[in-house]
Subunit: 408 residues, 4 copies
Amino acid sequence: MPEPLLKVDLTKPAEEQDPPVHNRWHPEIPPVASVNPGDVFRVECKDWTDGFIQDNDDASDVRDMPLSRVHILSGPVAVNGAEPGDLLVVDLLDIGVLPDYQWGYTGIFARDNGGSFLADVFPEARKAIWSFDGIYASSRHIGGVRFPGIVHPGQMGTAPSADLLARWNRREQELISKDPGRVPPLANPPTEENAILGSLSGAERDRVAREAARTVPPRENCGNHDIKNLSRGARAWIPVYVPGANLSVGDIHFSQGDGEITFCGAIETAGWIDFHVDLIKDGMNRYGIANAVVQPSPIEPHFSPSRYLLFEGISVDDEGTQHYVDATVSYRDACLKAIRYLGMFGYDEEQAYAILSTAPIEGRVSAIVDIPSACCTVGLPVDIFDFDIRPSADGPARADRGRLATPR
Amino acid sequence: MPEPLLKVDLTKPAEEQDPPVHNRWHPEIPPVASVNPGDVFRVECKDWTDGFIQDNDDASDVRDMPLSRVHILSGPVAVNGAEPGDLLVVDLLDIGVLPDYQWGYTGIFARDNGGSFLADVFPEARKAIWSFDGIYASSRHIGGVRFPGIVHPGQMGTAPSADLLARWNRREQELISKDPGRVPPLANPPTEENAILGSLSGAERDRVAREAARTVPPRENCGNHDIKNLSRGARAWIPVYVPGANLSVGDIHFSQGDGEITFCGAIETAGWIDFHVDLIKDGMNRYGIANAVVQPSPIEPHFSPSRYLLFEGISVDDEGTQHYVDATVSYRDACLKAIRYLGMFGYDEEQAYAILSTAPIEGRVSAIVDIPSACCTVGLPVDIFDFDIRPSADGPARADRGRLATPR
Amino acid sequence: MPEPLLKVDLTKPAEEQDPPVHNRWHPEIPPVASVNPGDVFRVECKDWTDGFIQDNDDASDVRDMPLSRVHILSGPVAVNGAEPGDLLVVDLLDIGVLPDYQWGYTGIFARDNGGSFLADVFPEARKAIWSFDGIYASSRHIGGVRFPGIVHPGQMGTAPSADLLARWNRREQELISKDPGRVPPLANPPTEENAILGSLSGAERDRVAREAARTVPPRENCGNHDIKNLSRGARAWIPVYVPGANLSVGDIHFSQGDGEITFCGAIETAGWIDFHVDLIKDGMNRYGIANAVVQPSPIEPHFSPSRYLLFEGISVDDEGTQHYVDATVSYRDACLKAIRYLGMFGYDEEQAYAILSTAPIEGRVSAIVDIPSACCTVGLPVDIFDFDIRPSADGPARADRGRLATPR
Amino acid sequence: MPEPLLKVDLTKPAEEQDPPVHNRWHPEIPPVASVNPGDVFRVECKDWTDGFIQDNDDASDVRDMPLSRVHILSGPVAVNGAEPGDLLVVDLLDIGVLPDYQWGYTGIFARDNGGSFLADVFPEARKAIWSFDGIYASSRHIGGVRFPGIVHPGQMGTAPSADLLARWNRREQELISKDPGRVPPLANPPTEENAILGSLSGAERDRVAREAARTVPPRENCGNHDIKNLSRGARAWIPVYVPGANLSVGDIHFSQGDGEITFCGAIETAGWIDFHVDLIKDGMNRYGIANAVVQPSPIEPHFSPSRYLLFEGISVDDEGTQHYVDATVSYRDACLKAIRYLGMFGYDEEQAYAILSTAPIEGRVSAIVDIPSACCTVGLPVDIFDFDIRPSADGPARADRGRLATPR
């Protein structure tokens, strides 16, 4: 158990943390610490909303969350000797929740504040609070389900170079320009509002804030990958774009389903990570790597393949319109089918939506060449439910209502 | 080992099979056999191209394949007592290749004849031939890789009702109408050319041929799902749309990677399936099911999660254009990154493309809410290679060339 | 699917097979075929009893089985170039049951004819017949249980050298001499009775019969290993003791639990194996190997570790006597505890005994240093039962009787 | 993260702990705390030797360890409402090492002080010290190997009733009486020496010390089970013999191989466990349970079955003597074969012995009916080594010496 290299104080907002934190990506955000290749060190992280979401039964915090504040990231940590073109080898030796933050939350973000994957079906803000029993999570808002967490940081990355940052801003602005007034927006441009940039201050801070990339998308620095399998015991190789690499991390998830479909879709929490870092010199060029490569952990929760139910989705939307090999539409179709199915067991649709977003479900691109439909599947592990969800000769419709908890 | 209910003769074309086969979906294609719930029976299947692709080192057959002939399906088998609204419970008790067809092929279809997922990058037809050593596959065209197959039918489904068929035709024609001359086409409309419709003949055959749906896409009858995990030992629940359900099957794959990205992307072969069928009366309504639900097999080849390499893709295309939460673009990006990476070990890009399409790779929708990018990942099992593909301090660029087989 | 190198005729007894078979181990049993390193070939095998056990509901065949006839082995196959001191690399590419033998049996052997692990508790002969539904086995004699098979040859080995054979005979005779009249016997000495020795005949056959080792025990040539994990897709490295190695195989099991505790404890059947062989020259010396080393298959049926129930056994026998770190007594204790537990769900003890012997149960030596007890565990996969066998607040005693099949 | 119900102070010996600890099993050791069914609570534990073994490079502490001091156990915890005949449902929600004890040790105990499974081959005391990198363990004394831990308490149990205790003492004394002077002893009788009995004092303490069972063997109260799979996330059902159940726990292992063959064979450490307890009333009778039943955890480290090497052992000892179906002799044979094999890669035999004892190896009773030999196997996961340990055409003998660390 290494000493914390970077600590957080859960009683204070992001602006008052020591060392300072940040919520943008920019090459000029100063490192708060440096380490050598081979070092082991602990980094603590606040939850992604800086404590805005509370452990209560009211989703107004999700509804009103100022999204320009996210994600609160710890770092950057400079790795001595790292140069652009290297690969940073990042071992996540262990991950846990902070002693003073022993709970988590899932938010369905409202259509007009962030939105979610199925925002048109679920336009209103909702929330579920989760309790942790050691390796297991359960929720007072969603009955009948309990699962081991795949704890991971939803966001982790190296600092972009100035060139790479410029490329990000250009391509995202081009997208925004296609429909600038859209709700939710097509992308989020840099904004000074709520920008936190480590130790920068004054005019320099203001300039960087106007340039710095927002943290929501995954990009070539790994970024907000939300790959649930980058968990405790995993390794990532991440491209280095600036001297020192400048590794930052945050957005700790106790668990997440593939897709993280409710947006604040994982079980969000505050936690710590024990890192080991190393370098592969000139690795980007030697391996042709231009984004993160991940080796998952041998201790991922595992279920027999025969203990999943897979729901088949196609590229046809709710109105019956056929889309051309569109995996997004297909994944949406699979998710809606799984939600409808869970509803037959007595879940509210919002509960089912939250289960898909948080439990260790498997989202797959099964076929992407069968014109005009992609076939995506959503796999539900049956062992996480305390009743049998498989179809049977005498099963639901809408059975077992009484055994499930009060809906949110 | 049940007696074959439906046999095929590999020496004869589809038109001369007894019982007759079909290559379209239509409610009026007559069943060729009937079974009772609880029955066990074997169905033999030709390869999807009706033997057009040959075991040789020349891809001109892939280039010239008349796609209006596919997929050759065995059936329909009527299940006594099945009524619209039921769920057909289909157990795939075992699957194997036919004794006289002990090999398989993978085709990269040309851009102007079918195309593939990366048709713009790989516009020309290519082919790889695979040998089977019991449960393992290897190819004389792609060195250094060998893996256990996840044998499955790429296509399996129930007959659509007239209403459902009409809906399919309408929505797909609407899509085609957006760009009728596109190459490859946005979708394939019904065509009399090469239509094979079981025992139908004369004017009835011609009318049905003009109405019947082509077989390439997955649809609400399961169809061309290409879900690799619907393998030997698996179960599927499939909606019933016509009396008797009318189950058909074909397109046997010895192995396939998620996405089946080269289009004829699996290891295609001719094989047999031992089925057990049963019914859940009124199951569609009781479980809210409107497409197949699949329970995979306990004997899927399995690898430790820590023995995969995951490549992260984002919704940015080759020209650097940002797309809005587009999982198709993101999966494409992940695939291209994995192909480039394998190239560093000495593979031609076409070889790497074929590996991704055939080996038991995992394609995942990791995050689909991180505006403006979806994050999809492609997971390569490292144990299928006879050299270590993980990044190391002193590894490739473009090493090991000599140890790999001659490229196609 | 390679052509059979060695075929069997199920309608004829062992003595009339062509090529001849054998049921003893001896260096002078002549090879019936030869292959080269790198060859792939199929070997067919009769069931171990030469068809003595029948598919009926009467265990008198188990009771009366002449054990000097077992095991019927196919081979030997000579591998060109193999020399004493080499390692024979044996790939079991695929394994299946013979088309004309689509069933299996399990026998509890009587105390006075072979016996079993718990012969004192179960002194009488019993039998269970199994049906195969593709990869799954179930029995009309044991309800509520169905599982995927781990098909494997219970016996496989190379021929012993004359020296090695002499050592076997000496050490086993020394054991027998300690209690020559014991029932069941401590070991089985060579006997001419029922000895089948391939193409040997006349005086040579009689001499060899008097010398040749019986086939029941595992020995340094791999032999009757009954390692269930040496299944389809697995590899074994086996020491070579005679020129040509002389590989023989038989005793096909559709499935077996660790321990094979009822003696004829697996699901015994007749089958075929597709082999690939190779050599590691001087491998015994270079790797210090003096018995088989096995690499299991990636397609073993697998269950989540959390879907097993482990029963803890200690080195205390039924009379309460403490034995000194005795793993045999401890494994027996664990088995008896599991049998008693299953009885609470309505199984007869003989049914439970047969389940432990045939299903994919895990038998482990958990601790063997905790003086004076070894701790062995028996692990039952809960997913093979169609009811929940885990302890619960309101579960058995002796519930569910009606739902299980009539006991044998 | 529950508050610790029971804490330990690593700076103080067992006699000075508050609450008091104990190192014997006896019904009259007073509970130090009580909980209700449904409660969650943390228990801290010293290492089993009370800190006797030190983090250094000298095994004299192992040699001189006074074994009458072990095992230091925390508890008993009384569960309100528990009555004899109930089953105590014990969930191990999470387990970790103590912040001030971030290392572990393995001891090969000397033949004349405790001994080990292979004491005659390894008569002298040896030691290996292990470092923890998050979920992984490695040792400065054993190179080339690193593995994820399966953290578990080696010892956990309920208090015996007076009757059960008397039965233990009687049967163990009978065994001792067969060879009272044996080294190592056949069993360890009660002794006042070093007995620590919680808050008992004076004459009562002395009486109980003379009666109380030593802690080395597993017994009907679960006890020193050393089942590595009773890990974080697992559940055990343990018989209740006294009112309140009186649960005690200790002997934390960071990792262990099946068999724990060097005696102090796991990676021993000091740690904490988060428990949840519940009751099944009258469960012993209703389920026929007379010792612990264990459901392992879904997050056990897992490896593909095809990434193990299994070594086959038979019931023949080092002198070539055949034993009758003796699983202990067979497991010994398998272990010796694995040790010899690892030696060919440059390990000292003591290093190999320690690897088998600590790494997640699988020890199986493969066959226990093949008279006169049992067949046991030892399975080595190949992925824990940083070189390929599988036999190959050009591999060792005794290669790679230089790459391994200096032997102990």
